[in-house]
Amino acid sequence: MNDAGPEPERDQERELEALLELSRRGRAKLERLHEVLTTPGHYGTGATPAAVVYRENKLKLLRLLDETGQPRDGRPPVLFVPAPVSRYFIIDLLPGRSFAGYVAAAGFDVYIADFGTPGREDRFADLEYYVEGLVRRCVRTICALTRNEAINVVGYCLGGTLSLLYSALHPETVRRLVLLTTSVDGDVEGGIPWVAHRMGLAGEDYDNPRLVPAAEVKSWFEMLAPGSNSTLGRVSDLWDRLDDAPDRLREVRTMASWVDDVVAAPGRLLAELYRKLGPGANGLMKRTVTVGAQRVDFAEIAMPVLSVSAEKDTIAPAAGVDAVRSIVPHAEILRLPGGHVGIVAGRSAAALWKRTVEFLGGGVSPGET
């Protein structure tokens, strides 16, 4: 006979021990969550000091400043063009983890187009307004400020599409072009337009556009990320994450503050993009795309181009991004491990930052002073 007592009692004790451990772990998670929710952190704004050098409608053109509060004017200017349907600070996420900050630290005079949050009247904004209006005036403003005839442009996601179209229309003002996870082939499976097409959705109404609510834009992104489109799935993910250290959780929170903070989108812009570049129309690959009344001729793009895709990108599938070589044959194609956001601001983003700085620093082209 065992001294520890009868078997059923020992089983009961073991169960109670296990329950106690479960209780402790659950409580520790809640305490960690409380700490993260009540500790100030870097959320919702760019990480690098910046000055606003131009405003138009909701757009703010930011110029990054150095440690002394002065703009860097050593190496040629670089304009970052993020997607207008999300917040700009993904490219300037955290001190020490900022793509734009990294490029600035390499000596470039860095600018970021913060498109802001559209108001109801901005539902009438179309592709021409963004390309020939906001992006073109950002470039003109930078050229005027720095007395350069051409600058570097780095476009991310839909911002890359705007940058590509702009560069074809005004090639003399672009020194080097970087396209990050910018989908070119609208017929490649995956991505929001393709899913909408497969679901038989007509897309937004061009003539009577609405301001597409942020929650709806968010739901489209969630469709592409299995598990993120149910509250239960998200809560379960968060609960698992609460085992991480508070410092790591703060980083997760910074990223979540970008991922979950989408902005409303102008319906007319979305309608035009879907009609012109979406599945079937595929206007970039078929070279039929127009901006306003202008036909876009990609043969005009003679400046060096770097296009970067992400292996696990569900928003802009890598095959659709790499297809840029069909319309810009001299483009350098780089495919990196990671997802749509991870390659720009994740823990493995350093590979992209380093290559971008090398690319932007290469060669001197006409128009550069």
Binding site: E31, R123, V235, A256
Partner: protein, 121 residues
């Protein structure tokens, strides 16, 4: 919050009691933050939706009744407002062009200024 430590190993029942007290403390900490910090409620609400989004509430679809139908006059006003926004940009374009012209004018005389005729000696 660290668990209380004692020199002798407490029994299972004692450890359960301690754990209950810790839960009460955790609960009170949450209650305290809810009362003292309005943002905490927003952040906690986000966490209950599985998001660590800071600074604002997790985006949700407004109920259909919340969005008032747009009247034709609202629509026209929005169109006018957006047209004004476009004009704002075009005015900036004009200003940039004027600055360029001024810059060119300043440069041109320097480049094309004829040399002064030499004084007869």
């Amino acid at each position: 919050m660290a668990d209380d430590k004692t020199t002798t190993d407490p029994s299972l029942i004692e450890r359960w009691l301690t754990e209950q007290q810790q839960w009460q403390r955790t609960f009170l900490t949450y209650m305290d933050s809810m009362v003292k910090n309005d943002d905490f409620l927003v952040h906690l609400g986000n966490a209950l939706r599985g998001s660590l989004l800071a600074g604002k509430a997790y985006p949700t679809q407004p109920p259909p009744s919340a969005s008032a139908p747009e009247t034709p006059s609202d629509d026209r006003l929005d169109q006018i407002l957006f047209a004004l926004r476009r004009l704002e940009g075009e005015v900036h374009d004009l200003k940039l062009t004027l600055d360029e012209l001024k810059g060119e004018r300043k440069q041109v005389p320097k480049k094309t200024r004829p040399p002064k005729p030499r004084e007869p000696q």
